[in-house]
Symmetry: C2
Subunit: 187 residues, 2 copies
DNA sequence: GAACGATACGGAGCACTGTTCCGCTTTGTC
DNA sequence: GACAAAGCGGAACAGTGCTCCGTATCGTTC
């Protein structure tokens, strides 16, 4: 009994996740469905069919982003000029992801058990990736070696809270400064 | 130089605060402006003139309710059959007020300094009122005498979090049970 | 490769909301 | 009573969520 999904449906679902992620970063998790549909180049009906509620979509994007972020770690490490450059690039992806993560709380609007499990999934999956980037940069002598993944991810997460309250507040700038602070300098 | 407010404007503002409070309890702080206008029997323009943004309205209702709640304490105490009955009635008002209070965080959406000061105002004003009701009931031998206003208000506040997540969750019921738990019984 | 359900798609259309704007009404003053 | 000024109401517009169904595409069977 294999009523398998049609190929175009599978394709659309992937397209949607990617498009939604991009729109979330640009316009927040409350972005109009129309905008996401336009970005993905599909009709609104398609979105509602795949993700009946906004929470469904946000959760799916969240998982998708965690996975993409996790896979990007090793890739960046092997293609970047330096481990520190890889770390910077990875953090940039991570910040994009945080928009979705912070939107999750509102989207789930109380389902705290669901939220907890998604949060645990996030830590399990990304903690080690962050760790490997930190270790590589530390071993290359580019940054200090006493920074733990948890504190870094948590700190960056907190820097991103309230990002759209005030146009003068730019989390990415502060994060960049923070990363500068990790580097080892010859004096 | 007395460009005093016109009498009808003053009247409308009061009407609006009362109506908005009621609608907030019924439909939450995100209730449509139209609904509030209808409840108050005024046009939508009137609301926007008095309270340009939703945050303005929520803050005004908040202050109004804190005041009403504070004034209701002594009144209830002198008109109720017992101090405990007065306490119950007061808590009921207090729960209505909490809807507004919890909506405040969203409405202020980050202005944490403004939020802090409103929170302090609330504690200063209502703490003593709650205290007097507790003392009266304790002195009448109706409830135990080791309950502090802060813990009670805080506990009730927490019971009201997530009130509209699940229709099976009824904070007022639990609060009623909690109050029962305060009573002194002959065994 | 032709034919034909089954599956999925797109987007017009409806319902509902926030916000503005201006003709009309009420108020206060002389 | 007359007349600005202040205030009011709600029609009108714009943006959004969500549904529904005619149409297009896919996968399967011969």
């Amino acid at each position: 009994m294999p009523p398998r999904k049609r190929a175009d449906a599978v394709r659309n679902e992937q397209t949607l996740l990617t498009a939604a992620a991009e729109v979330f970063v640009r316009s927040g998790v409350d972005a109009p469905i129309r905008e996401i549909a336009a970005e993905a180049g599909v009709g609104m009906g398609t979105i509602y069919r795949h993700f009946p509620t906004r929470a469904d979509l946000v959760v799916a994007v969240y998982r998708h982003q965690v996975e993409a972020c996790a896979e990007a770690g090793p890739t960046l490490l092997s293609t970047s000029d330096s481990a520190f450059a890889a770390l910077r690039a990875w953090i940039d992806l991570f910040v994009d992801f945080l928009v979705t993560k912070h939107g999750l709380a509102n989207a789930l609007q109380s389902d705290s058990s669901g939220f907890e499990s998604l949060h645990a999934y996030f830590l399990d999956r990304l903690g080690p990736v962050c760790e490997s980037l930190l270790s590589a940069a530390a071993e290359a002598g580019e940054i200090r070696d006493d920074v733990r993944p948890f504190e870094l991810m948590r700190g960056i997460g907190n820097l991103c809270i309230g990002r759209d309250d005030d146009p003068r507040y730019d989390p990415r700038r502060l994060i960049s400064l923070l990363l500068n602070g990790l580097t080892v300098r010859r004096s």
